[in-house]
Amino acid sequence: MMEFPEFLEIPLADLIDGIIAWILTNLGGVLDAIGDGLLGGLVAMERLLLWLPWFVIVGVVGFVAWRALRRWWSGPLMGGFLVFIGMLGYWDLAMMTLALIIAAVLISLAIGLPTGILMARNDRFASVLKPLLDAMQTMPSFVYLIPALMFFGLGKVPAVFATIIYAVPPVIRLTNVGIRGVPQSVVEAAKAFGATSRQVLVEVQLPLAFPSIMVGINQTTMMALAMVVIASMIGARGLGMEVLLAINRIEVGRGFEAGLSIVLLAIMIDRITHAFAAQQQYTKSP
């Protein structure tokens, strides 16, 4: 009598399985196309990074860091991080991880920016999307691995897919917040002089929302980095897999090296994207 009545149980698991099975049988072609597209982009990015001489990449990162952070030491420091990763013997793996992150972030932005803009301009869409985004961000990250696995099997493609799903909410959310935060008086003034809604968006709302959008991009990038490590569980090669292997074999030293490389990569990416966000802040008047 004290147990929960069995007849009240809902077969949710069965339902989800059913949906996934349906998708797999009926939308297989679509999934294949998406998978091929992801793989193509990813492989191209990986090839590019591995093909470029190491000193070119170090130089580019150093230069960008110096421009973004506006300190003379920032360039050598960030470049030095990369060199140090190379010295640990992880250059190729780091480039693979970086390729995965860049691909995932670019696709996240391609999805997230337009969605965020749409959300800012359509209240109904926003009210539907908001709880969804909340749910996505509170879900533990490895939950996304399950559908990714089912749709795309093992390998790089499900890793990118899971990463995108996990990393896309911040850029959507902050694009929306940024655009909505543009003072109504400014938008109205632009309209009063005959600006179309497109002109208002491009010339007023997006530039003024830029700092907020950059914060979104920064957060998305950091989440992508975190997810890439986890995604190595389903077979994406890179630094994450190295950590995973080290844990499995209880090789503390190796795990530490790989972990340190990830941390350095994270600091590098975070500082640079963060600086880009902060740089634009001064244009926003009180």
Binding site: A189, K191, A192, F193, G194, A195
Partner: protein
């Protein structure tokens, strides 16, 4: 001498209507139509509608029309709907009911494209809260309207520079608005509206943050625009003196309704109810009364062909000591005085014109009494009122002007005396600039808390 703003030209009913507002309603809140469909709510007070329907009535059945080239001023307490009204005219706020016509065009019937077209080419607006683009320089802000129109960069920068110069901000072109003071930002807003040279200017408290000196300059600039190139101007202000100075007509609003529309003279002399009376109680009649309204017909008018003896006789009979002399067509020639005539007769002169003193004080019929004060202060003779063709219309006595000045002076309000002559630097120099800035009681009821 003639005062440009208060010409009574708005009285010509046959002039082309430029902006027409018909039965306009604006209700903020959910389901505004509920308020309009309910005959009880339609006439309920603002507070009642707010508690019963949760809606704010910002405009209630507003109708008026503004003629081409007219300077139309909107006044009213804070929250009475002035900004909303001016925003509804180009649908920055969507009217809940009613219609707006600009040059006969039904604005509410336009699609987005048509509306943009009107906003680009016909109207220019200055916002109470500036609405400058914070990420663009002053120059780009001023040139913004032209950019939207598709004017080339070179041309729009050239025009924008001219306008920036006009509002006295030369040298600030490259700065962002955030590095400018409030008054300077407001002037950027004014320059932005002027840059497009629009036919209709919608100005929402454009001068509220300016110091009196620049304020007066801007007022004069605006009057010039209006008079010379026939701009139609809708102007919101809290400052009664400003309204009286620039307005051809003034509309006074309360709780979303227009309760009186009329010339400055109308509003000040015949306020329609106690609310309006409170509004205008501190305006001196001398600021709105024109020479035409107070002039009198002289007891004696001499003609140039009359002989000195006959002239002297008529003047003495009328018990006065001077009289104006006119031609057959009533053109004014000058005046003769008793002493002048007596001297002439002694010298056995026979022509009246030999005793004529052509150096008399004249004023235009549309002159405002305020402007006559310095004139009458320097003479003991009446001032001749004439029309454009120099024809004599009547005369104004010093005593009339003084009587009107005294009438307006309540006890303990002697600040006003010095304000009377503010437009005549020659008479009162120096401190006059600070006078206007003083919060006269006239600003009292209309002081917006947000006039920061």
């Amino acid at each position: 001498m003639a005062h440009s703003g208060n010409g009574n030209n708005s009285l010509d009913a046959d002039r082309e209507v430029c902006v027409e507002v018909r039965k306009l309603w604006k209700v903020f809140g959910h389901e505004p139509d509920r308020v309009l469909d309910d005959p009880e709510l339609r006439v309920a007070t603002k507070e009642e509608v707010l508690t019963r329907a949760g809606c704010i009535i910002a405009l209630r059945d507003v109708s008026f029309s503004v003629h081409k080239g007219e300077f139309f001023v909107l006044m009213g307490l804070s929250g009475s709907g002035k900004s909303t009204l001016i925003r509804c005219i180009i649908r920055l706020a969507e009217p809940t009911a009613g219609s707006v016509f600009i040059n006969g065009n039904d604005i509410c019937a336009l699609d987005e494209e048509g509306l943009s077209e009107v906003r680009r080419h016909t109207t220019g607006m200055v916002f109470q809260h500036f609405g400058l683009l914070p990420h663009r320089s002053v120059l780009d802000n001023v040139a913004y309207g032209l950019k939207i129109r598709g004017v080339s960069q070179e041309e729009r920068y050239e025009k924008a520079r001219a306008c920036i110069e006009k509002v006295g901000l030369r040298g600030w072109e490259g700065y962002l608005p955030s590095s400018l003071s409030g008054g300077m930002q407001q002037r950027v807003g004014i320059a932005r509206a002027l840059a497009g040279d629009p036919e209709i200017l919608l100005l929402d408290e454009p001068f509220s943050g300016l110091d009196p000196l620049i304020r007066r300059q801007m007022q004069d600039e605006l009057l010039e625009l209006q008079v010379e190139i026939q701009k139609t101007i809708l102007f919101v202000t809290h400052d009664l003196h400003e309204a009286l100075k620039v307005g051809d007509r003034i509309a006074i609003m309360r709780d979303g309704e227009i309760i009186q529309t009329g010339t400055p003279e109308d509003v000040v002399i015949n306020p329609s109810d106690s609310y309006v009376r409170q509004f205008v109680q501190d305006a001196s009649p001398t600021k709105v009364l024109t020479a035409r309204t107070v002039m009198e017909q002289p007891p004696v008018l001499l003609y140039s062909w009359q002989g000195p003896k006959a002239a002297l006789q008529t003047i003495r009979d009328a018990n006065i000591d001077s009289a104006f002399v006119v031609t057959r067509k009533a053109r004014i020639l000058g005046q003769v005085t008793v002493e002048g005539l007596v001297a002439l007769i002694r010298k056995r002169g026979t022509f009246l014109k030999d005793a004529l003193d052509p150096d008399i004080l004249t004023c235009h019929a549309d002159s405002i009494l305020d402007d006559l004060v310095p004139l009458v202060a320097s003479t003991r003779y009446p001032v001749a009122v004439i029309d454009e063709d120099n024809r004599f219309l009547g005369e104004v006595y010093v005593s009339t002007i003084i009587a009107n000045m005294i009438q307006e002076q309540g006890p303990g309000e002697d600040v006003e005396t010095s304000e009377e002559v503010q437009d005549n630097p020659a008479v009162l120099e120096g401190p006059e600039d600070t006078e206007e800035n003083e919060k006269t009681p006239g600003d009292g009821p209309s002081e917006g808390a947000e006039q920061a």
